[in-house]
Symmetry: C2
DNA sequence: GGTGACATGTAACGTGTTACATGATTTC
DNA sequence: GAAATCATGTAACACGTTACATGTCACC
């Protein structure tokens, strides 16, 4: 449910052809969201029908051959992005979905994402606490762990570290969203 | 392509019913891998046919009603886990896939995951460097950034922090896998 | 004239998600 | 005896992935 919106936001940043989008999703955008060209063409077709985007360029050479089609976001598409960003149901694990929303804020302007970020912070704090509790309960005597236990502990420590790092980031970002 | 293997590893840890598995995938396992009960039953059916697992309990009350079916991993299933773990094509973004593999190492024993972790470390180092390059190029004068640029920078910093944290974790885990 | 990048699509398949469905056992 | 939990499953749909398919343009 996020791919079409990721595409819309990319198009808001710069009107592009499907091919262009596919390349951007392989590069900068691709670091936090993936989409193949088949997916992109499928979504562009749907969004055309829904009136979210329009073709502006259509540099058709002369024959019936498909030549570069440049897509642009229509007001309805922009409104849809705002609606989607503000439907505050980002999943705890859907960190990248939040990054897409941030990208929307960068291109559209303040969208009130601070409330959602605070919600996510609370969820991640709770999860971190769960991990720390498990650590206390299962891995408290740091020595005397079997190999299997050490590996399990390593998995847990990965979770702890990742939550801590995410929280530190969120604390840094929050002031930016409070306007 | 990883869900059946996540299930197999869960079953190696403890033979269970589909219902049991579903609950575990909502709790401990669920922190890094998700699967609904429908998915689990579907996969259990397939794995039965492939001879990877067998039903041992089948506590059928008396009527034709479905009662607790306990699944156990067969040698072929265990071999499949080892094969899958050692096919070293974990994706850079598929961090959680590597966590499942670690869990397999915890339950089966050393599987030579150090080589793959080193491969991943190299990929993450390269990605981190890419991010740092972008930081240098686009956000060098820390002041004089528009709001939009600050938000974009925040997204980038999220990537940087996440890579650094992952790398620190990997450095810590690596010695454990070198046996 | 051949290779590689540009550019757009269709079709088939696998997996994950949502909704529906049924019945047994335990607890209040 | 009603409600919650245990327990297993089917069906339809949405989405992502892989493979296939076609044709243009620029460059050597």
């Amino acid at each position: 449910m996020s791919t079409p919106h990721a595409i819309l936001i990319s198009l808001l940043e710069r009107p592009s052809s499907g091919y262009d989008l596919a390349r951007r999703f392989d590069r900068s955008m691709g670091y936090f969201w993936r989409a193949t060209h088949q997916q992109i063409y499928r979504e562009l077709g749907r969004m055309l029908q829904q009136g979210w985007v329009a073709v502006i360029g259509e540099t058709t050479g002369e024959a019936a051959t498909p030549r570069k089609k440049v897509y642009q976001v229509l007001p309805a598409g922009r409104a849809e992005v705002v609606r989607w960003v503000q439907e505050t149901d980002t999943d705890v694990d859907g960190r990248n979905v939040f990054l897409i929303k941030l990208r929307a804020e960068a291109v559209i302007g303040p969208l009130g994402l601070d409330a959602e970020l605070e919600r996510l912070v609370a969820l991640h704090r709770a999860r971190l606490q769960t991990y720390l509790d498990i650590e206390q309960r299962d891995f408290s005597p740091a020595d005397a762990l079997t190999h299997a236990q050490q590996v399990q502990y390593a998995i847990l420590k990965g979770g702890i570290r990742s939550e801590q790092s995410w929280l530190a980031w969120a604390e840094e970002v929050l002031p930016l969203l409070k306007s």
